[in-house]
C-alpha cells in the first residue's frame, strides 16, 4: 500500500537556526496523525514542508508517493488548511470564496460546495462576506475548503484554534469521518483530549525534533486489571492463547486480547489461579500526562547533555 504521507530525515534551517531537525514519520490512508508540541516546536514548519509550501534544507517529503515540489499536481488529492485562522478574500462571501477554490481545484460541483458548507454549519452564513466572519467561522470555512475535493490527504495546521466547544467537536468529527472514509489526516493541534479519542498516532515535537511517536490505536486496544499479585498474573496470562501481549504497571497487569470477547476469560483464568481481580477495564491512555512527562524528560536530557559539554 502506498503511504499517504512520508517524511524522511526532514530538516529545515533558516540561516543558522534549525527549525526542523531530521523529522521522519509515515501516515497511511485512513490514519490520523496528530503533531503536538509547545509553540515554536516546528509543527507549522513541518506542515508547510509536507504541503510543499516550504522547501526542505535536507530530507525528503512524499505525498501519495510523489514529491509535492516536483509533482505539484499531486495537490489535486490534497486538502489543506495552513493558516490559523484560515485565510480568505474578505470582500467575497463564504460561498464565493469556495467557488473560487473550486475553480482552481477543478471538477467541483455546485452541489459539493453546498454540501461542505452545510457539513461545516455555514449554510446560513454562506452569503455573508468573510471579512465579518468570526474566528471560528473562518476556521470552519477553512475545513470546508479543504474538504471540497474529497481529498485523499488532509493536512491541517491547528484547525480548531479559536473555536467554541461545539465547533471544535464538529471539526474533529468531520476529520474522523474523513479518515474512516480512507483519507489520511495530518494535523497539528494543542487539543490533546479531543485528538486522542480518534487519532491513530501522535508525534510529539520539541525544538524542531520529533522526540516521540505514540501508537494510540494500539494503546486503545489495551486493557488493565488491578490484581493482588501483578507479576504472577502476568506469568499466568502470558501462556494463554487469547492474550496477545501482557505487561505490568504497578499493581496492574496490562494486556491486549486476540479477541475482544475474551475479556471474561481473563477474570476466569486469574481467579482460578488464586489471583484476586480488584478492577478491570480499558487501559485509558492519558495523552496529556504522557505529553507533559515526555517534554520534561526531554528537557532534562537536553540540560544533562549541555552540562556534559560544559
Amino acid at each position: 500500500m502506498t503511504l499517504a504521507i512520508e517524511t524522511t530525515d526532514l530538516s529545515k534551517r533558516y540561516g543558522k537556526k534549525v527549525v526542523v531537525n531530521s523529522v521522519s514519520f509515515k501516515v497511511k490512508p485512513g490514519e490520523v496523525y496528530a503533531l503536538v508540541g509547545p509553540n515554536g516546536a516546528g509543527k507549522t514548519t513541518v506542515i508547510r514542508l509536507v504541503t510543499g509550501l516550504a522547501f526542505p534544507s535536507s530530507g525528503k517529503v512524499s505525498l501519495l508517493g510523489l514529491d509535492p515540489h516536483e509533482k505539484p499536481m499531486v495537490r489535486r488529492k490534497l486538502g489543506a488548511v495552513v493558516e490559523a485562522p484560515a485565510a480568505f478574500y474578505p470582500y467575497l462571501t463564504g460561498q464565493e470564496n469556495l467557488q473560487l477554490h473550486a475553480k482552481l481545484a477543478g471538477d467541483v460541483s455546485q452541489e459539493r460546495i453546498q454540501d461542505v458548507l452545510e457539513m461545516m454549519g455555514l449554510s446560513e452564513a454562506k452569503a455573508t462576506k468573510t471579512g465579518v466572519y468570526s474566528l471560528g467561522m473562518r476556521q470552519r470555512l477553512g475545513v470546508a475548503a479543504a474538504m471540497l475535493t474529497k481529498p485523499e490527504v488532509l493536512i491541517l495546521d491547528e484547525p480548531a484554534s479559536g473555536m467554541d466547544p461545539l465547533s471544535l467537536h464538529l471539526v474533529h468529527t468531520v476529520l474522523q469521518e474523513a479518515a474512516q472514509e480512507g483519507a489520511a489526516v495530518l494535523l497539528s493541534t494543542h487539543h490533546l483530549d479531543e485528538v486522542v479519542a480518534y487519532c491513530s498516532s501522535v508525534g510529539i515535537m520539541e525544538e524542531g525534533r520529533l522526540i516521540d511517536e505514540v501508537d494510540i490505536a494500539a494503546r486503545r486496544e489495551r486493557y488493565r486489571a488491578k490484581v493482588s499479585d501483578a507479576l504472577k498474573a502476568q506469568q499466568i496470562l502470558r501462556g494463554q492463547d487469547f492474550i496477545k501481549q501482557v505487561g505490568t504497571r504497578g499493581d496492574n497487569v496490562i494486556f491486549t486480547l486476540s479477541h475482544p470477547y475474551a475479556l471474561s476469560n481473563v477474570v476466569g483464568v486469574l481467579t482460578t489461579q488464586g489471583i484476586n481481580v480488584l478492577g478491570l477495564g480499558p487501559d485509558v491512555f492519558n495523552l496529556r500526562a504522557y505529553y507533559q512527562d515526555r517534554l520534561s524528560t526531554s528537557k532534562q536530557d537536553s540540560s544533562r547533555q549541555e552540562s556534559a559539554v560544559a
Binding site: 508547510r48 504541503t51 510543499g52 509550501l53 516550504a54 522547501f55 505539484p72 499536481m73 495537490r75 489535486r76 490534497l78 489543506a80 495552513v82 493558516e83 484560515a86 485565510a87 480568505f88 478574500y89 474578505p90 470582500y91 473560487l100 477554490h101 475553480k103 482552481l104 481545484a105 477543478g106 475548503a145
Partner: protein, 257 residues
C-alpha cells in the same frame, strides 16, 4: 491559464490603489482642460478637444502614471500576502509559475486599461473645445502643441492613439519591476517603494550620456519619440519586461511560504 488569468483579473477591481487612481485620472484631465492659468504658465491656449488627452499624458507620464502602475502591481501581489491567501492558493493544483504568470499578465494589461480610461476621460473633458480639424498640434506629434498647419480629426486621433499605446507599453516594465520587488520583499509597500527608488535613481543616471538611451526611464518618453526610433525602444521595453518577469518567476519558485 485563461481561467487563472480571469480569476486574477477580477481581483484587480478590489485593489485599494485602483479607486484612488481612477479618481486621480478623472480629476487630472478636467483640471488641465479648464485650468485658468494655462496660458500664463505654458504660453498657449487649448484650441481642440484632442489637445486635452495629450496634455493629460504629458503631465502624468512624468510621475503620476509610473507611481499608479507601480503601486497597483505591487498591491496585486501584496494583497495576497496581507490577506494571507497566498499559501491557500498555492495549495491548489496550479504551479507557482502558472499563478505568478497570471498575475504578470494582469500587471502587463493594467497600464493599457489605465491609459484607455485616461484617454476616454480626457477626450470627454475636452468636449468644450470641439473635435474638428484645427490649426495646431496635439502635443504628441510633429511640432508639439503648435503643430505644422492644420491637423484633421483623423490624424489627431492616430497621433493620440499611437502615443497612448506607446505610453502604456513603456509602463509595462515598471509594472513588472514592482512585481519583482514585491516577490523579493514579500511586501506591497516595499515593492512599490523600491520600484520608485529605482526609477528616481535611473533618472539621475542621465549624467552618463552613453547610458541614457538604454535606461528604463528614458523609454517613458517613447510616446513622443520619432517613429524611426520605435523599433529599438520597443525592443528595449520588451527586454526589460522579459528580464523582470523571468527574475520574478525564478525567485518565486524558490520562496518558502
Amino acid at each position: 491559464m485563461l481561467k487563472l488569468s480571469s480569476i486574477e483579473f477580477s481581483k484587480l477591481f478590489h485593489l485599494i490603489s485602483l479607486r484612488f487612481s481612477l479618481i486621480a485620472l478623472i480629476l487630472f484631465p478636467l483640471l488641465w482642460a479648464y485650468a485658468p492659468g494655462i496660458f500664463t504658465v505654458y504660453g498657449f491656449f487649448i484650441v481642440s478637444g484632442y489637445q486635452v488627452p495629450a496634455l493629460s499624458l504629458l503631465s502624468s507620464m512624468e510621475f503620476l502614471l509610473p507611481l499608479i502602475v507601480a503601486v497597483a502591481s505591487a498591491e496585486l501581489l501584496g494583497l495576497e500576502l496581507s490577506h494571507g491567501t497566498l499559501p491557500t492558493i498555492l495549495l491548489r493544483p496550479v504551479t507557482r509559475s502558472q499563478w505568478l504568470l497570471a498575475k504578470i499578465l494582469v500587471a502587463m494589461l493594467y497600464p493599457f486599461a489605465l491609459l484607455a480610461f485616461l484617454f476616454l476621460i480626457s477626450l470627454a473633458a475636452g468636449v468644450f473645445y470641439g473635435y474638428g480639424a484645427f490649426a495646431g498640434g496635439t502635443g504628441v506629434g510633429m511640432g508639439g502643441l503648435l503643430g505644422q498647419g492644420t491637423l484633421s480629426a483623423g490624424a489627431a486621433l492616430v497621433e493620440l492613439g499611437r502615443a497612448y499605446i506607446m505610453a502604456a507599453l513603456s509602463l509595462v516594465p515598471i509594472s513588472l519591476l514592482a512585481i519583482l520587488f514585491t516577490v523579493i520583499f514579500m511586501n506591497a509597500a516595499g515593492g512599490a517603494l523600491a520600484t520608485l527608488a529605482v526609477l528616481i535613481s535611473m533618472k539621475l543616471l542621465i549624467v552618463f550620456p552613453s547610458l541614457e538611451p538604454y535606461l528604463l526611464t528614458s523609454q517613458l518618453n517613447a510616446y513622443v519619440s520619432p517613429i524611426g526610433n520605435l523599433n529599438i525602444t520597443v525592443a528595449l521595453i520588451a527586454l526589460y519586461a522579459a528580464i523582470f518577469a523571468a527574475c520574478s518567476v525564478i525567485l518565486f519558485e524558490r520562496k518558502d511560504f
